[in-house]
């Protein structure tokens, strides 16, 4: 257990207001669309009308002739139209992990709304008009829209660069599944379907780019991966020093702003016109064009003994990668690793395959593949518990992982495994309200529980690391510089809080400067719930040498102030005060000698002394995650993720059996966060994640042969304030994480186990099993009607 000993925290663990909260409340926070420049042009993307076609030709002459249009670009104008997709990893991984990224369509059009041409014009109306004047010669082809069809021989080939639709195969196994079936008293097989899910962040993709006086293409685009500047530089055939993203806080990301969105288009247009260009996607464009959560078809075959012990489980997953690779291989790793989930199966095997289709491309979405399997394996366990006549709580409690149990790749996580405690606390809280069959208003009551595990920190074979820079200012405050993209999780503020805690300063004395590819040290991506873990530790690393220097100087000053004993022969030190340095504590802008707090010195004074002597007031600390080699994908063994975070959710629902409408009466969310650094932010992630994952049960993109029918906020319905129940959050602090002060990552884990818990509750209420993450009133009513027909 790597628990740092610091017990008496002053700031860590409190509800600390964030440094940017006031600006956001006052409406002064500027986002990607809040910026204009003189001579600015408006950029627009012409997108494919068909999900699957061959691009025969593009005639841009009429568009170019329209007065006020300054650039019309197609794939020929892109210096390097195809590049390998990277996601800020410092190490080349290859092996099918880094797929193809095409800037503008060429050859086969692979999904609806794939970018074909770019326009820059003096007004938005002109840009729209110009797009209409571009004539595209499509040869519409049949396309393939189901990954299982795409994998069959002779299926329509989505990509013009590969000779198969198959993206990647992986397999994880433990024990001997094949021989274990006969040890099972009950074998249950089910097929689950995880639906595509849109991030629906409130701020659509937008940003600006301009060329500065020295020819550096500077962008102001909110993105979760600042390191995309490398890919863009390659595409523009420019040195990595000359593409800069002066990052902007995002109006939500959730993984949707992890891929390149507007950046490359802006760079191409500003290079072509030598004028600043702004591009803002409409909501319709955002929903149709950016990535979705991977739709997954999961087949579960689970064997258990009659007294409730799980014996064996076979999982086969088919992922719909959509039109381009993007994050599919990474998501597939998470899904495969999490196939059997947080249950201790002596024998398990999970195979997965991902395939191209002509649907919108799938990539990162909060949960990153773990949510799809979490829904399936927890539903499967719920179904089995019912078949065994056991309480869903007891059955789970018997089989969840415990400290020392290996993951399915054989690796034993060092962090604390709190699944049993979480189950206990949620079940107890749920049962504070007695379970009933019917509510007084006649609605059917249902209760469900589910638990989950999800990694935090990136895949270990990426050799992930993060850097934070600190500078002691002469007035005793601290400047923190970190290239940490802030998508709303308070990633910047928490680093300031950690630095303030380390130096014993109030939070307002540390100001974070964030998100600039070239002026702030790169912290790595804001993905995989890694920032608190990686950058938090990097921040502590950065503090260490500075604290050491401060302690050394403080010791000298304290000695000189309080301990000189004058004798005839001059000064004489008391003998036993040699080791002051080791007993100093930092708080309230002072450095105290712990044994006798009256002896202290101002933080500012110590900084001044160091400065006078030309000492270093600046330090950049780096933290490296545990690193492994790329595993053998056909039999993945060893550590894949640095550590896991465990969650458990309990849900009570009321179902109107006549209309199928249902309401979430209670939602209990429990998580072992290791240590809450900023309690408001930690709770915020758990509450926000709960409603985000709850939304997955109701939101439906209505995909039909590659066309997104629900492409705006009046048809793609995310939960409003009246649809979201009050979330009762329970934060367990096991101090068992590998983040700063024993913290664990909570961002994505908070987006797990609510959807299965809700669907478990609905199945409990209606008495019919649901196998799809999306359960609309219509589905509930149909299930009730079929059940009634069967009972007759």
């Amino acid at each position: 257990m790597t628990i740092t000993e610091k017990k008496n925290f002053r700031l860590v663990g409190n509800r600390v207001p964030r440094h940017d909260a006031i600006a956001k409340a006052r409406g002064e926070q500027l986002y990607s669309d809040d910026w204009v420049m003189p001579n600015m042009l408006y950029g627009k993307v012409l997108r494919s009308k068909y999900p699957s076609a061959i691009l025969k030709g593009i005639d841009t002459s009429k568009a170019k002739a329209l007065p006020g249009v300054h650039a019309v670009l197609t794939w020929e104008d892109v210096p390097l139209n195809q590049e390998v997709t990277k996601f800020g990893q410092m190490r080349d991984v290859g092996g099918g992990f880094e797929g193809l990224y095409k800037v503008l369509a060429h050859g086969k059009i692979r999904s609806k709304a794939e970018p074909i041409a770019l326009v820059a014009a003096e007004t938005q109306e002109l840009a729209e008009e110009a797009c209409k004047l571009i004539e595209v010669d499509y040869e519409v082809t049949e396309g393939v829209y189901d990954p299982r069809e795409a994998l069959k021989d002779g299926a329509y080939l989505v990509s013009s660069e590969d000779d198969t639709n198959r993206i990647m195969d992986t397999m994880i196994r433990m024990g001997d599944v094949d021989s274990a079936w006969d040890k099972c008293d009950l074998i249950v097989e089910n097929d689950f379907y995880a639906t595509p899910h849109d991030h629906a962040y409130l701020e659509t993709e937008s940003g600006m780019a301009w060329i500065d006086e020295n020819g550096v293409i500077t962008m102001r685009v909110g993105t979760q991966v600042l390191e995309h500047y490398r890919t863009i530089a390659n595409v523009m055939k420019m040195p990595h020093t000359k593409i800069r993203n002066m990052g902007v806080p995002m109006g939500g990301g959730f993984g949707g702003k992890e891929d390149i969105t507007v950046e490359t288009f802006l760079c191409l247009l500003t290079a072509a016109t030598r004028r600043p260009v702004k591009m803002v996607w409409s909501r319709e464009e955002s929903i149709e064009c950016h990535s979705k959560r991977h739709p997954e078809y999961l087949h579960y075959k689970t064997g258990v003994t009659k007294d409730g012990h799980v014996v064996a489980q076979e999982v086969n997953i088919v992922l719909d990668g959509g039109s381009y690779t993007y994050c599919t291989p990474w998501v597939q790793m998470y899904s495969t690793m999490n196939g059997a989930g947080c249950y201790h199966f002596p024998n398990s095997r999970c195979t997965s395959v991902s395939a191209f289709t002509n649907n919108t491309f799938s990539s990162a979405n909060r949960g990153f593949g773990a949510t799809q399997t979490n829904f399936s394996y927890d539903r499967q366990m719920d179904i089995i518990a019912k078949k065994l006549g056991m309480s869903p709580y007891e059955f789970r409690r018997m089989n969840v992982l415990r400290n020392g149990d290996p993951q399915h790749t054989g690796f034993v996580p060092q962090g604390h495994v709190a699944l049993t405690e979480l189950l206990d606390v949620v079940w107890e809280k749920l049962n504070e309200v007695p379970k009933v069959d019917y509510l007084p208003d006649g609605r059917k009551f249902g209760r469900g529980i589910a638990c989950a595990q999800m990694g935090y920190g990136r895949l270990c074979f990426l050799h992930d690391n993060s850097r934070v820079a600190l500078r002691l200012e002469l007035d005793g405050t601290v400047t923190l510089r970190a290239g940490v993209p802030d998508l709303g999780g308070g990633q910047g503020s928490v680093l300031a809080q950690i630095a303030a805690e380390e130096f014993g300063l109030p939070i307002e004395d540390v100001h974070p400067y964030v998100m600039d590819t070239h002026l702030t040290p790169l912290c790595g991506t804001t993905t995989a719930t890694r920032q608190l873990y990686m950058s938090g530790n990097a921040c502590i690393e950065a503090c260490k040498p500075l604290k050491a220097a401060l302690a050394r100087k403080a010791a000298e000053i304290i000695k000189a102030t309080w301990w000189p004993v004058t004798t005839e022969a001059g000064y004489e030190w008391e003998p036993d005060i040699a080791n002051i340095e080791g007993q100093l504590e930092f708080h309230d802008r002072k450095i105290y000698y712990a044994p006798d707090p009256q002896k202290c010195v101002d933080f500012k004074t110590v900084v001044a002394h160091i400065s006078n002597e030309g000492g270093e007031l600046f330090n950049e600390g780096q933290f490296n995650a545990p690193a492994v080699e790329v595993p053998d994908l056909s039999d993945i063994k060893g550590q894949i993720l640095p550590d896991m975070t465990y969650t458990c959710h309990g849900v009570d629902v009321a179902v109107d059996e006549e209309t199928g409408e249902y309401e979430i009466l209670r939602l209990i969310a429990a998580i072992d966060c290791g240590k809450a650094i900023n309690r408001n932010s930690c709770e915020g992630q758990v509450e926000g994640g709960a409603i985000y994952n709850l939304g997955w049960v109701r939101e439906d993109l209505h995909w039909e042969n590659g066309i997104t029918k629900a492409n705006n906020f009046s048809t793609y319905l995310i939960p409003t304030a009246v649809d979201a129940p009050d979330v009762e959050t329970i934060l367990l602090e096991s101090r068992g994480g590998i983040g700063p002060y024993g913290a664990k990552g909570v961002g994505e884990p908070a987006d797990n186990s609510i959807c299965p818990a809700t669907v478990n509750a609905l199945s409990d209420a209606v008495g019919v099993e649901f196998f799809c993450t999306n359960v609309k009133p219509e589905d509930v009513l149909k299930a009730i009607k079929e059940k009634n027909k069967k009972n007759k």
Binding site: R15, P17, R18, D20, A21, I22, K24, A25, R26, G27, E28, Q29, L30, Y31, D33, D34, V36, E125, H199, A200, Y201, L202, E203, T204, P249, M250, G251, G252, G253, F254, V280, S282, R283, L487, G488, G489, G490, N678, R679, N680, S681, E683, G684, E687, G688, G689, A690, I691, Y692, N712, F713, S714, I718, T720, A721, V722, A724, D726, V727, T729
Partner: protein
């Protein structure tokens, strides 16, 4: 392109005349004149990030015809924050209660809360949720936002349910 007509509005207490095309939305007129605390999340009246006060009533500026507001008074979150005590209380409560994550929905949310409080809003979580049901938020799950508005209603001595 239709021509631009002069449009006089009182925005955040200042009388101003803008040039706006006949079909321009109040949102576009405000944002094109650098009132950037009025956000655009859908431009269809479905997300609420563009909520402003028009003559004291919360409206969605993206589906409000700008010229229909000629001579009327518009207040945005930023303007209210500097001129209205109640809005300042709501803003501070949002900061203290951790009701803000990405902050994109916050300006519209605060204006909706201001409308609710101004029209006799009581300290009742269900009523508060109804009042902000026109303002989508994807990050917070609405919990802490309701906490903040509840806190302000209590501080103002409203009926507690």
């Amino acid at each position: 392109m239709s021509n631009l007509l002069p449009l006089t509005l009182k925005v955040n207490g200042e009388e101003k005349t803008f040039l706006a095309s006949p079909h321009a939305s109040l949102l576009r007129v405000l944002r094109d004149n650098y009132y950037w605390d009025v956000k655009c999340g859908c431009e269809e009246g479905d997300c609420g990030t563009c909520t402003v006060l028009l003559d004291g009533k919360a409206v969605k500026s993206c589906i409000t015809l700008a010229h229909n507001c000629a001579g009327h008074e518009v207040w945005t979150d930023k303007g209210l924050g500097y001129n209205d005590e109640i809005t300042r209380m709501i803003q501070d409560a949002f900061v203290e209660c951790g009701s803000i994550q990405c902050g994109f929905c916050t300006p519209g949310m605060i204006v909706a809360a201001k409308h609710y409080i101004d029209h006799g809003g009581i300290a009742d979580r269900k009523e508060i949720r109804k009042a902000i049901s026109g303002n989508l938020c994807r990050c917070t799950g609405y919990n802490k936002i309701v906490d903040a508005i509840y806190k302000v209603a209590v501080e103002l001595g409203r009926e507690v349910r």
